[in-house]
Symmetry: C2
Subunit: 343 residues, 2 copies
């Protein structure tokens, strides 16, 4: 079943069929109707491969993410896809699993499929691979890394503000000893969050003990184990900030395996605000990263390829979502309160 048969049945040329498929203006409504009918009776579906080959455009946008198993990403993928579909585009999602080898494979797929643009939502990507995309002048948009220039746009997350709000919140509650469970230092996004934490702690003149920063890996299990380490410390931290929500969920479980309670004995704050965070026990106080906005900005960056007049940087502001894992520390307001006010 191909365009030829449709043309024959409709009594027109293949060119006319092609035109009606592509909503070309210059087709009489009547002939278009005839063609449409033929398409329907033949159950004809145009071959995407041939279309892309003939036109040179794929109408495909790539979306590279690092871990589809982290609920943050499906929520992002969904938003992105919705927008793409509304704009008559398809998306090709590829998963790196934080693995350089697979990342290369992902980029290769994008290149081979001749995508019209790529949204790179993972921070781990060798310059060589970026260069590979860049040299072909494929519109690129990065989440949280690289600086805008030429064909690349950037969506920047104001980690400092987001994590700052969290720390400010804990500080106001009276917490002074705040620990942090990071992601893998191998990942730029993890490092950025950790840095934001350090910076804000310093700004509040809060102590930053080496052992109060423990490493997770942005999975539940990682958060669980990291919190177990933290719990071995005596006394335990008053509050723990987690590099993402999955980490916090694991940490929550670790605390509750002991006699301690959240937030009575330890306050806990996550980062991302995935859907499930509203339903943990207790519901997780966290910093929201607005997925829909990120998706919208990413799509716009790729779609407004013209470049002209399109700003190449979009800053998204995380926002603190207060739920029930934070409360004043059990040991009451600390002595340092005065100094804190003076900051």
């Amino acid at each position: 079943m191909n365009i030829k048969e449709v043309a024959r049945l409709a009594g027109v040329s293949t060119a006319t069929v092609s035109r009606t498929i592509n909503d070309s203006e210059k087709v009489t409504w009547e002939t278009a109707e005839r063609v449409r009918k033929a398409i329907q009776t033949l159950r004809y579906y145009p071959n995407t491969n041939a279309r892309a080959l003939g036109s040179g455009r794929s109408s495909l946008y790539g979306l590279i993410i690092s871990d589809i198993t982290n609920p943050f990403f499906p929520e992002l993928v969904k938003s992105f896809e919705d927008i793409a579909v509304r704009n008559g585009r398809e998306i090709l999602v590829a998963n790196t699993d934080y693995d350089p080898h697979r990342t290369e494979h992902c980029v290769s797929r994008m290149l081979q499929r001749k995508v019209d643009g790529v949204a790179i939502m993972t921070t781990e990507m060798e310059p060589r691979l970026i260069e590979e995309l860049s040299r072909r002048e494929i519109p690129l948009v990065f989440l949280d890394t690289a600086r805008p220039q030429g064909n690349v746009s950037t969506i920047t997350i104001d980690y400092a503000a987001g994590i700052g709000a969290a720390i400010e919140h804990l500080y106001t509650l009276g917490h002074r000893r705040i620990a942090f469970i990071s992601g893998s230092p191998a990942h730029k996004s993890s490092r950025a969050r950790l840095e934001a934490f350090r910076k804000n702690m310093r700004a509040h003149k809060l102590p930053l003990e080496f052992e109060d920063i423990v490493q997770g890996d942005h999975t539940i299990e990682g958060g669980f184990r990291a919190m177990q380490q933290l719990l071995e410390r005596k006394p335990v931290p008053q509050a723990v900030l987690c590099s993402n929500d999955l980490t916090a969920i694991g940490a929550l479980r670790a605390v509750h395996q002991t006699k301690l309670r959240v937030p009575r004995d330890i306050s806990l704050v996550g980062f991302d605000d995935i859907t499930i965070s509203g339903y943990t026990e207790p519901p997780l106080t966290t910093v929201r990263l607005p997925r829909a906005e990120i998706a919208r900005a990413a799509f716009a960056a790729l779609h407004t390829r013209s470049g002209r007049g399109h700003k190449r940087e979009h800053v998204v502001q995380p926002s603190l979502v207060l739920r029930e894992t934070t409360a004043p520390p059990a040991d009451g307001a600390p002595a340092k309160k005065t100094r804190a006010r003076a900051r």
Copy 2:
């Protein structure tokens, strides 16, 4: 950049380049090496569209799921993709969102991309759409619906056994009044689970009050609201079985918003065993649906296209995972125990 330039640089014909790309045996190692070098220096990536067009094969398998936001699916997608990649295939995932209109769009995409097979992991699909795929002799594999024949294989989930194990477990603990939170009756998978529940309740001669079966929608929020309804009943059920884990997570939250505790006052059982279920508070007792096995079976069904000698039906057995949301009922062993033993 195309095959011609590579051929020119390597001093061979395009056919030879094509052969080396496709690992054809009949290319001298030396010429192949020359070609490979040319490919590398030119940073050539073969055009997938053209390859598919020329060969007639797309090396693409479609995967249709209903809700990428339900963690069950990403875990499934991941398994499926891993296997596909290992076998040199790509996958095209499409989301129906339980929407008939979008479902049609998904099928259309599959058809247009000329996929070599489709795994349909959603139970909602009009016969017309299936027919559309079927008539083109595209290998199909369904999760949990349709019966095997011709080009379609089936992966059947033994809901009765899985849910039976859960009910048996509750029954042994002493529970007699067991409620159920279903998914949307519009979805076949929901109905199947509900039916399995009914059947097993009857088998245990347990009461099945109309009001003890309340409707959710397989989301956390749906489970939350459904449980709230259940909690309005006096007395509340001794145990609640949920149609999936998200439902159970929402239900758990609803219980904990009251003075009641799980499992002290109410036992709770989920279905799916998504990763997060091991970390809820308390960890969720649930029925595991083995994702990796489903993915493996689905891929095998599509890939072993020869059909000959390949069994078209694969039954997967769910298994009960005991965690901490189930316990004997607070009101002690029920009077009916004797009768129960007699069953």
